[in-house]
């Protein structure tokens, strides 16, 4: 039994005054494919402060992972076409050399993935994989590195850590593998942790454990967390603010309470209503017609237009800009005001 600690408010108020630790401006990532050029991420901007949690929400193919992989340097140009800026501590990461990026990766930025079992090396023991980080980055002795690995495994609550150093990834369950991934990511005490669908593959009770763990390490270390997910429940419980993506573009960006209370974009509204809830019964779900577009055939104008209940002729001609609706609340819809007041 645990009580979920509410997010440390003082930390948040203090950080609100601070400049963002990372700021992404007009990031675009495109690929050339046999089906023609594809814009996976299209003019995306967001920022995150110290200790803050940003959720990036979207369905498959919305470009939520590609954007972050680009920031981590996992997607390179060429083959991708990357434009825009991504400032970390005042410097544009996208202009950095490979060596500078590598120094940042792991030390300042770390990432964990959905499928932890495939992200780990199956032929090395867990102990080797965690202690390797200390040996390569800090040049410590094997014994010291092992001690640090055990410390870290204790922190992410892997039971009897020392005796499990010699185990291989396949001997761990899905939840334990995710803990190992989190331990690896935390090894160098990063300032930002990017979690790409960290709990999607896990069972409900284990998902709860991993979410609590992420929240705990975030609050302990004052770390920023970027959470990629399609699960609005996870978003509501962990994030401070959110960006909703559709077809590579930002549909809406808002503080978390505003997004859930007063969604302005028809897509976010529909998404909130389409998700079945454990706390309400069997009335019909409101669903969004059609399927998300393939990126090689994005509709003209507003990408959400063919599935939108409020679609007007203008939507086909003109692509909506991301507009300020309220402080800290932007939406990319021509009719955001009318829709909000109409319903």
């Amino acid at each position: 039994m645990t009580t979920i600690e509410t997010h440390d408010r003082t930390l948040r108020e203090r950080s609100a005054a601070e400049a963002p630790i990372m700021e992404v401006r007009n990031l675009s990532v495109g690929f050339d494919t046999p089906h023609g050029p594809v814009q996976a991420v299209d003019d995306v901007s967001w920022s995150i402060r110290r200790g803050e949690t940003l959720a990036i929400i979207g369905e498959s193919g919305s470009g939520k992972s590609v954007g972050l992989e680009t920031l981590m340097g996992l997607i390179k140009s060429p083959p991708a076409t990357i434009s825009g800026q991504a400032f970390f501590a005042g410097e544009d990461m996208l202009k950095m050399s490979g060596r500078e990026r590598r120094a940042l990766r792991g030390e300042k930025l770390a990432m964990i993935f959905q499928d932890a079992l495939t992200a780990l090396n199956p032929s090395l023991t867990i102990g080797t994989q965690i202690s390797e980080v200390y040996r390569l980055r800090r040049g410590v002795s094997k014994k010291e590195a092992n001690d640090k690995a055990v410390q870290l495994m204790d922190q992410v609550k892997i039971p009897s850590a020392r005796s499990r150093l010699g185990d291989y990834p396949h001997q761990f369950s899905g939840g334990m593998c995710q803990r190992v991934m989190i331990a690896l990511a935390l090894a160098m005490d990063p300032e930002i942790l990017i979690a790409d669908e960290p709990t999607t593959a896990l069972d409900v009770t284990v998902q709860r454990q991993i979410m609590d763990l992420l929240r705990e390490v975030r609050d302990e270390r004052g770390m920023s967390l970027i959470l990629v997910t399609h699960d609005l429940g996870v978003v509501a419980e962990v994030a401070d603010k959110a960006v909703v993506m559709y077809a590579g573009r930002i549909a809406e960006s808002a503080d978390i309470v505003d997004l859930f209370r007063k969604p302005k974009h028809p897509y976010s509204r529909a998404l909130l209503r389409a998700m079945p809830r454990v706390d309400s019964g069997a009335e019909r779900l409101e669903c969004i017609a059609g399927t998300p577009p393939t990126l090689s055939h994005i509709p003209s104008g507003c990408a959400f237009r063919p599935r939108c209940a409020f679609c007007q002729p203008t939507c086909a001609q003109e692509r909506p800009r991301l507009r300020d609706m309220e402080p800290n609340h932007q939406a990319a819809c021509h009719f955001a005001e009318e829709i909000e007041h109409g319903a």
Binding site: M1, T6, H7, E59, T205, V257, D279, S280
Partner: protein, 355 residues
Amino acid sequence: MVHESIIGKHPEQERDVMLYARGLVKSFAMKSHQGWRTVEQEIRAVNDVGFSLGRGETLGLVGESGCGKSTLAKMLVRLIEPTAGSIELDGEDILSLNTEAMRQMRRRIQMIFQDPYSSLNPRMTVAEIIGESWVVFPDIVPPEKREERISELLHQVGLNTSDADRYPHQFSGGQRQRIGIARALAVEPEVIICDEPVSALDVSVQAQVINLLMDIQRDTGVAYVFIAHDLSVVRHISDRVMVMYLGEIIEGGPVEQVFEHPQHPYTAALLSSVPVQDPEQKGRRVLALPGEVPSPMNPPPGCKFHTRCPYATDICRTQAPETQGDMMQRGVRCHHTDRLDFSEYLEHIRARATG
């Protein structure tokens, strides 16, 4: 041991029960090595499960991975042979049927699978996939009407008539799941076993498929056994629900009662752990469970849940609890159910139910 107690001894008058399972057990033999010796070990994937399904009703089956829910689903259509127990459809024992009689029986029981990618033959067109069952059951639709019936079925599941000549790879995940549903509907079944039919789909598409399944039930009166790990989805679609843990049903009953007033600590923990789509619930109290589901190779003695149960006492460690009540009306398998109160962990669910 097979207990009679799972289903109450009184036949249910108000429900028109069609599918009736009792004491279902599936054990697998697993070979393990102890030095030079090879030892055969029995793993009970499903242990003493019973339920009944009324006509036009949806029975939800919830549980975490490895709890045996998919094994149970496959036993119901005899894709896996049960080790013990009985399954009756309108009084006829399915398990005693020979191959040909079972083939005829599958006209009444169909299945929809989780993975819409691997459950459709990539070399067959949609029309061939849907019409294949008519090769076995030629009397369902006369040959000259088949094309028309395929269009009808496609229309019913929200696809276009023109899709009949296309191949599965030309469709998205949600559309493929619709093809799988149309295939199941082609033989006009009375029961469809749905094994995680929406868990591979995107949120917006998931809602469409759930609505589709509910519409089909309204129009055709088909009954579903609906298996899922997502409690929200189960709540939406089910009339009754059973919760499984390590091969056993630990709680069951009408869906509102189980979700709003769970009696088993595992059910309460599951419900409390689901993230709620409401940022103002951030600080709510959660009944979080420690550890993970134990391996079925090595199940704990006594109550199988005691290793993770925050309320476990000595009796739980030594003695397996009996089922109290009827899992279809309201049943639970816990020693301490009378003295447990989970309301502080479930305020968010009850608040919305009443308000």
